[in-house]
Assembly symmetry: C2
Homo-oligomer: 149 residues x 2
DNA sequence: GTTCATTGTGAGTATAGGTAACAATGAGCT
DNA sequence: AGCTCATTGTTACCTATACTCACAATGAAC
């Protein structure tokens, strides 16, 4: 038997990798010294992928967290001056989250930190292996079933 | 240019995957209803990979967390009856962590939950792709530089 | 035998996220 | 109009993870 429990082994590897990725990202963020936490960085990154300023509910859905979590993250980012809460004139219940100029500058630094972290994590892989991994991760992420079902 | 920023893109994908893996594992663990948290599950899994009962310091090193964190995890697992603190007669400073029979049973259930989680995460991949991913993850994990340097 | 290193833990903190209740608002219906 | 119900963000609280720092007990080295 060449693969006694391939999926179980993959689970183990994924969990170990997950832990490592988180630790390394945290270290690089700390070194960047922007006062941005990993979850805040994730929100900023997501923010940049929207066309216009999204509603907080949009962010919660995209980040796959509960709306309450977004409130906390935006609180922190607003205190850092990276984002701004802007009330939506068309619907007074919604608040749109805008990236400030400071936030855009922060995003650049974060991007560099993220890339450095990636280089550290991916160090054992050749260029070809990174290409293959990228394709596999694309497939994994694009093929993910709808969140929360 | 075919790869404008491959490492940066990989970082994004890894971070998204990391979040997803963590959420899905948490859900499956909760469904298993063993009262075991993700970090405790990680410790149990690690425990099974040692030959004999390891010292808490060994666990901290292997898990790549600070020793204080191991204390908390063992506290919870001992309360669940999954492990036992056994003083080392050869060195009265060290405490060895033994898996109980209950713990061994728990491990089996956890293994199934982990495999189910893996199947859910890996659903978009074919068998061949899973093999390739497994090899890449092997390389990534084995080639990791020594912890904390 | 005094000094220094190892080992685990108490106390306190920060981050991440979850639930439940709620106030403000908008939408639909009669 | 009014009444009901869904949406949106937030207040208040709880849990899990992991960190630092200080410390007590022990062992090792000189």
């Amino acid at each position: 038997m060449t693969t006694p429990d391939r999926d179980g082994a993959l689970a183990d590897q994924l969990l170990r990798l997950t832990h490592r990725v988180h630790r390394i990202q945290k270290r690089h963020l700390h070194q960047a010294d922007l006062g941005i936490t990993p979850a805040q960085s994730r929100l900023l990154r997501t923010l940049a992928h929207f066309g216009g300023p999204p509603r907080m509910a949009d962010l919660a859905e995209r980040l796959e967290v509960v709306p309450r979590a977004v409130t906390t993250l935006v609180d922190g980012l607003e205190a850092s001056g990276a984002v701004r809460r802007v009330p939506d004139p068309a619907n007074r219940r919604v608040i749109r989250i805008e990236l400030t100029d400071t936030g855009r500058a922060t995003l650049h630094v974060l991007h560099d930190a993220r890339r450095a972290a990636a280089r550290e994590i991916l160090a054992p892989l050749t260029d070809e292996q990174r290409e293959v991994l990228g394709e596999l991760l694309d497939t994994l992420i694009d093929g993910a079933p709808l969140p929360e079902c």
